[in-house]
Amino acid sequence: METALIGPANASVLGIPMVIFSLLIPIVGAAVFAYIIARRLAPLVKAAPDNRFNRWPERIFQVLKIWFVQYRQPRYMVAGVLHIVIFFGFLTLSIQSSSLVVIGIFDGFVFPGLGGVLGHIYNFIKDYAATAVLIACIIAAYRRGILKPERYAVPEKYGHDHTAEAVFVLGLISLLMVSESAFEATLMAAQHQKGLAGEFVAPLTLVWLWKLVFNHTSIEKLQAIHVMSFYIHDLTFFFFLCFLPMGKHFHVITSIFNVLFMRLDRGNVKPVRYGVEDDKLDDLESFGVKKMEDFTWKHILDFYTCADCGRCSDQCPANAVGRPLSPRFISIKGRDKIFKNYPLRGDFLPSQPLIGDIYEEDEIWSCTTCGACEQECPLGIEYIDKIVDLRRGMVDEGMVPQSLQKPLGALEKRGNPWGKMEKKRAEWTKELPEDISVKVLNGKESAETLYFVDSITSYDDRMQDIGRATIKILNAAGIDFGILGPAEKDSGHEVLRFGEEMLFQDLKEHNTEAILESGVSKIVTADPHAYNALKNDYKDLPPVEHISQIILKSINSGAITLKKVEDDTKTYTYHDPCYLGRHNSLYNDPRKVLDAIPGLRRVEMIKCRDRSFCCGGGGLMLFYEPEEEQRMGVLRVEMAKEAGADIMVTACPFCLVNIEDAIKVAGMEGKMEAIDLAELVERHIVK
């Protein structure tokens, strides 16, 4: 094609051939970028091992779903859509930007395959993409700079505001779009003026707009703007590339890797150290994360990848009640520390303990491990394993709050956090009606199914009602079951998550042996924490089910029939326990059970299913005395009220404790009621 303007590869200014710059800019840019990345990789190399080079089909699927399709972005609609526009704009324009770099050296370069029709189609699409990106950037800058959504605010204790960086980068992106289109439009205007054939101008795009501006500009000026805009684009492009690893925009580079290596399982906790079996734990010199390099390389990659979008903290119940924890700043503080300890120039700094430096003890104890942050993160950043690892480190150093030392001691000695007598673990069954007998599977009796009760249901007066309701349901459903009685110990679900690994190992070994010796082929529990522990933390046990699954199956098979709802003036709502919902994806069964009670009116709270709001936490969290302005349970009860419910149904004894307490704290006694799913169902069974 004959061209009306001289391309940058052949142009010269003041006798200097511009191709020198076309070569120099990419070479210097790429070298600087490679150097920065090499420095950034150093902490990953020094970090603890991780086990992520596996399960490739699942990993690639996550990349397609979460990275490429941006599946999690629209959960925040405005920001999500803006991000999707910019993301796809970037992907589309990456071809154009790369070919421009080459065009600076070889005039008229086109990528193989883009020479013909495909090239015209591409040009058409990329012009709209660039225009859309520019518009999205302007809206995004308006949001960040003027509207300032609350979740981007940086509380004083966490350092400086990040708005300037955000707006600066939006400016860079806009500059890329504007210069690229000016480069194209100048050529088109010149072609047009000289009556030569030009690329089709996509209407209403940036190029189209520029061309209107340039239509009557002289060829000399067009020539100057043409070359200038090329180098503005070239410089901005490589500056931007090298600027990315300096802050939150590092995610532009790291996100695809972070999502590729993201956690694939839920409900589990990482081992103390990958590659070390449970029975070799005693040989480890140190436990958990104490300094930065104790994190795994994936966790450091998480720090690099955090885009500071604030969604995790926006969903975090601990943050919502004013506990000193904001997951976003777990990442940001981690990243800033790495940048400081691993500077781009000079020696790396010696590593210091993280607790007392960037993290506080109470911050790390504040997490209920509800998983709302991980569910939300559009980049696959994980928090629970980091929190657990930090706790393991604190436990190893003896840094455990007094409020938790007592229950941990009691768990060690008595197998339950209250220090109640082992022999009284099955006392609660004595209050069952005489016609219901409960087998204690101590070697003399056997059963097909084990009902694993766990500590709170065994010892807490109120929660024992859940145990008795569960037994009545199992009995009505004709299931051959038994309990372990005094041979059962706490499942240790929170013991593991509070970092007392070796105590958890002891509890796990004890229970595993007791369960295997009982000879059962199935396990059922009404406690989601026990359910999750047996299913995801223990190994080689018979299959485990939650009572809601058994109830639904029994209703479907006709083994139990439910009668009309006792009080049809009431409205019910279902509160998803974290360890049933988010961690084990059991959202529908409990709802179907509720809907199987004829005449029951059910509404959903604003936060439900995978966005359910934690009640305040279970297990050892009941003993921890956090600094907080408000109780999580109170916020949850208020959500139920807003939804128009007067009965909150849950399926977890810890949720019930917290919600019943919250109803009292909120002064809503008589107006709001809480009940366990098992209790509600048991009351409606047709006998």
Binding site: L281, D282, F287, V395, D396, E397, G398, M399, V400, Q402, L404, Q405, K406, L408, G409, A410, E412, K413, R414, G419, M421, E422, K423, E500, E501, M502, L503, D506, G667
Partner: protein, 263 residues
């Protein structure tokens, strides 16, 4: 600073249901779980913190049977450097004075400049610390809830006195201090910590090792004898306030004012 901390293994009151035996000679000891006496745990933590600041070592010592070794290990897992178990059939049934005598005999074998005991034990009479100081003829401060090392001759100690008030003393070393809970926040000892010290050798010293005449201690030598154990009669039940929250609060304030609790 060479610090010796006297510790004791006691039934854990938080994790047991204490019942008295029908014959009144003891509590029912089946199904009991034991732990280190709470006050002693604070004393060990304080000793470790002092040594972390000024150097030296912490030794924990207990008088008891072979089961008492577990509390020594727990305190060593916490950070105590050495443990000594004082155990002899002759020690069984010793009264407080005899225990103080046994401890004194062991202490004199070493070179300690600071001795801690707990202010009291869950199952004790709060007497050993004072008697030990008197027998050793060194100064004593009880119910200590603050310690500052001034130099290698002097400490500044705080004591809790009536009504939550505080008094401060300077005390010469060597001395005996009985430590009150709340002086610090004892660190957690996990299973892992205990396993790490599981194979550390703990010396056992009997009566002859420390030069104690067997007939001066134990049940035979006791000048104080346990006569009876019983549960106190239940008094009248508590008064339950009834009514709405506001009414209950009003009544409570009225009662507190009437009894002088509020001014």
């Amino acid at each position: 600073m060479e610090i010796l901390v006297c510790v004791k293994r006691v039934p854990d009151t938080a994790e047991n249901e204490i019942e008295v035996r029908k014959d009144g000679t003891d509590i029912v000891r089946d199904d009991l779980v034991y732990s280190v006496n709470e006050w002693d745990n604070y004393a060990v933590e304080e000793a470790i913190q002092i040594v972390e600041k000024v150097g030296g070592s912490v030794t924990v010592v207990t008088v008891g049977d072979e089961d008492s070794e577990e509390v020594l290990r727990r305190e060593m897992a916490m950070g105590a450097d050495n443990g000594v178990l004082l155990s002899d059939p002759a020690f069984v049934g010793s009264d407080g004075k005899a225990i103080a005598g046994i401890l004194k005999a062991e202490i004199e074998k070493g070179n300690y400049n600071l001795i801690f005991t707990g202010a009291q034990a869950d199952d004790g009479a709060g007497q050993v610390g004072g008697m030990l100081a008197a027998m050793m003829d060194v100064p004593y401060a009880s119910l200590v809830n603050h310690i500052e090392v001034l130099d290698d001759k002097k400490l500044k100690v705080g004591r809790e006195i009536e009504g939550g008030n505080q008094e401060m003393h300077e005390i010469d070393l060597p001395c005996v201090l009985s430590i009150q809970t709340g002086i610090n926040e004892p660190r957690y000892v996990g299973i892992r910590g205990i396993r790490k010290v599981a194979s550390v050798e703990i010396p056992v010293h009997g009566a002859s090792d420390i030069g104690i005449a067997a007939d001066a201690v134990g049940a035979g030598g006791a000048k104080v004898k346990l006569v009876d154990y019983f549960m106190p009669e239940l008094g009248e039940g508590a008064e339950m306030l009834e009514g709405s929250t506001e009414e209950i609060v009003d009544k409570l304030i009225e009662l507190l004012k009437a009894k002088g609790g509020l001014k």
